[in-house]
């Protein structure tokens, strides 16, 4: 599974956490501060993810 991180870094994960929420927990991202797409489509934290998916995590909280 390919994960594009908020800093545009790419991580290829051998194992699959199962859901978007589990993935965010694993990488330490707060679900309220990001949105996540699976193969280009926006998905909620409860969406399932598979080994062949491309997941993109986008940071939304900016500014002072």
């Amino acid at each position: 599974m390919k994960v594009i991180l908020p800093d545009q870094g790419i991580r290829v994960m051998e194992h699959c956490p199962g859901t978007v929420g589990a993935l965010l927990h694993e990488i330490g991202a707060n679900p309220l501060e990001v949105i996540v797409s699976r193969n280009g489509k926006l998905v909620p934290e409860e969406a399932t993810i598979g080994r062949d998916d491309e997941i993109r995590i986008i940071r939304i909280a900016h500014g002072g």
Partner: protein
Amino acid sequence: MEPHAVPGESPVCACCAEPAVVYQPVIRRYLCGTHLVRDVEERVRTTILETGQIHAGDRVAVGLSGGKDSTALLVILSRLLPTLPGASFVAITVDEGIAGYRADTMRAAKSLTQRLGVDHRIVTFRALIGDDLDTLLIGRETHACTICGILRKKALADAARAAGATSIATGHNLDDEAQSVLMNAFRGDLPRLVRTTGTGTSETFLPRIKPLMAIPEKEIASYLFVQDLFSVLPECPYTKYALRAEVRALLSDYECHHPGTMQHLIESKKTIEQYCAGTPVMEPLHRCRECGDPCSGDLCQVCRLRHSLGK
């Protein structure tokens, strides 16, 4: 089990069978892209109508930074325009002069206003005070958000008046509002906690309205993303100095574990406002002895800042 979520399967919209794009934890509901867009726009329309934020004949100056919140605000207002008889909009962008940050958001703001056909004015800190923010902040970086906030508010208000506006709309969302309540509580700043900016007259302050105040930040980003309107933009380099960044992290974490926390904070503020109604918690309004702007003391914040900056 959560509604419309089956373990091992991706959740679907509570209103149709389409795949969900967002979950609203407080009301335990999933929505697809189409219903999210409809829901967000309806809640903004309800906020505007219930709080009387926009009236027939109003000319609303929309503070457009080019970031996601102000982009969503202008998109939604332009769509609601036919239901707001006689109202018109002008978008105002303040270019603070922040290298490596502002150029991208300026481009986004220009592109959006051209696409929507909205009158767009751009004002700069250089025109307001003679220097860009980066120069003003040399040696004062830790005060970046305070200095920027004072000047941006002044630039926006002056431009709004020059454009003939009757009110100023900003893209503050539910998260921003909850953060402000907590920040003011942390500072022990009761006057600021209960101060309302939604009323006023053209002789004092232009009323400031917040049509997105009921919409969580995540839903605003999702609203834009499902319509291909979301752009990944650079982060302001001065964010690291902001108290708000710390409060945001704290509150996001708490909201994540206890959904509804942000809404409860805002309701607490409203309750305190009701208890304080009629109580003089704020200093009476004066006129600044140098520029004549309304202020609470002898000098307004902008003139005090000019002095401290040697401007």
